[in-house]
Symmetry: none
Subunit: 205 residues, 2 copies
DNA sequence: CCTTTTATATGACATTTGTCATATCATCTG
DNA sequence: CAGATGATATGACAAATGTCATATAAAAGG
């Protein structure tokens, strides 16, 4: 198995190289910058591109996107020090083969093997997060928070982008009343303003 | 590596056993019913439970749930003939280690190895579906609307519920500048206020 | 080098927003 | 009936928001 390692930190990159070579894996090249990823990939055409996801200048995702744009069959396995929701999605979107924690170095070789054989590999930390990401956060129980029916109506209208005047027209209330309701809602949900309320609404739906 | 195979179809189960034993993998037992899964797991305590996902009587998911309920550290790898969106989520939820197509029998061994070493393995057919499941709504093309990179950053922060001061602190800009940016954004997207912007963000994501 | 563009900032301003204290009025409830 | 409760309203106020005209400096382009 022939691969290229890209890591911001030269120490990490070198350690990885040593570890992997001890396991009879050929490290064709080591880079420490997203910029080098595409160049080195084109030059060596490795079986796998093992790359840090957090790097200065060009991050791993961006670099991988470029590599995959030019070489769609490239197998990219990301390395990271901790799991980041944002990155999981992006990595999957662009077609990475997986995502493994640096700490799990004893699992690195089997992971590489699996990727080499066409599988996709994800560490536990990642997978346990997926259901949460997949199933949009369990609906929020407004009742449990003593949010009345009328208040919920107002929440929906705020989450629709209406201002106080529009809400008052819709519900046949005075604008002041709407303000009062809203004030109570924000208080109950411990939010600061209507925008946070709208955000809350969409994130708990 | 010691494992148990559960498959509805005795022929498939037997074939798998033959293939795997040829690769020096110990098949402790073969079952053909979800009911047997829990019993056999308890009896043999294998490293991995390799199980069909579609079975009569008790399906794989249900059987795995029971096994995992009793033995939370069980490593369950599902087998299936085709990928089913519904199952992906369910399998991840209950804590399965992966999901592989029966057709990919040449990848089965590396996959088992990776699972044995604590990884999670998913076939390509599955992974390519994940982004779709993660965010099904076609996302909005801000570039096309001439929304600059910086403006997009501000949008994200507004959609996070920050006020102008907080945004300016985050981006090292003056509050006035943030206001100006926001004003431009609202103008470009033909929205009225930051709440509508947050709403827009969540509805086009 | 001069001009244009781009990013950032300021101040002034009207409007909207959120909070609070208080007021009606109808409906329960003992 | 008297008092409590709940829904709605008002007015006052400070803070935040959105708009606009304008300013400045740096970068880019000629």
């Amino acid at each position: 198995m022939r691969l290229i390692i890209i890591d911001d930190d030269p120490l990490v990159a070198a350690s990885l190289k040593t570890i992997l070579e001890a396991k009879d894996i050929t490290v064709l090249a080591v880079g420490n910058d997203g910029e080098q990823a595409k160049f080195l990939y084109g030059k060596f055409m490795p079986d796998i591109l093992l790359m840090d996801i957090r790097m200065e200048h060009i991050n791993g995702i961006e670099a991988a996107k470029q590599v995959l744009g030019q070489y769609p069959d490239a197998k990219v396995l990301f390395l990271t020090t901790f799991a980041d929701d944002e990155y999981i999605i992006r990595a999957l979107e662009i077609g990475a083969k997986g995502y493994i924690l640096k700490q799990d170095f004893e699992n690195l070789v089997p992971a590489l093997q699996a990727v080499f054989n066409g599988q996709n590999v994800f560490g536990n930390e990642i997978v346990t997060k997926l259901p949460g990401l997949l199933q949009e956060t369990g609906k929020f129980d407004y009742e449990a928070c003593q949010i009345t029916e009328k208040e919920q109506e107002i929440i929906r209208l705020v989450a629709d982008g209406l201002n106080n005047k529009e809400i008052s027209d819709t519900l046949y209330l005075s604008e002041g009343t709407v303000r009062n309701y809203l004030s109570q809602i924000l208080n109950k949900l411990e939010l600061r303003d209507r925008t946070q309320l709208a955000v809350f609404y969409y994130q708990h739906k």
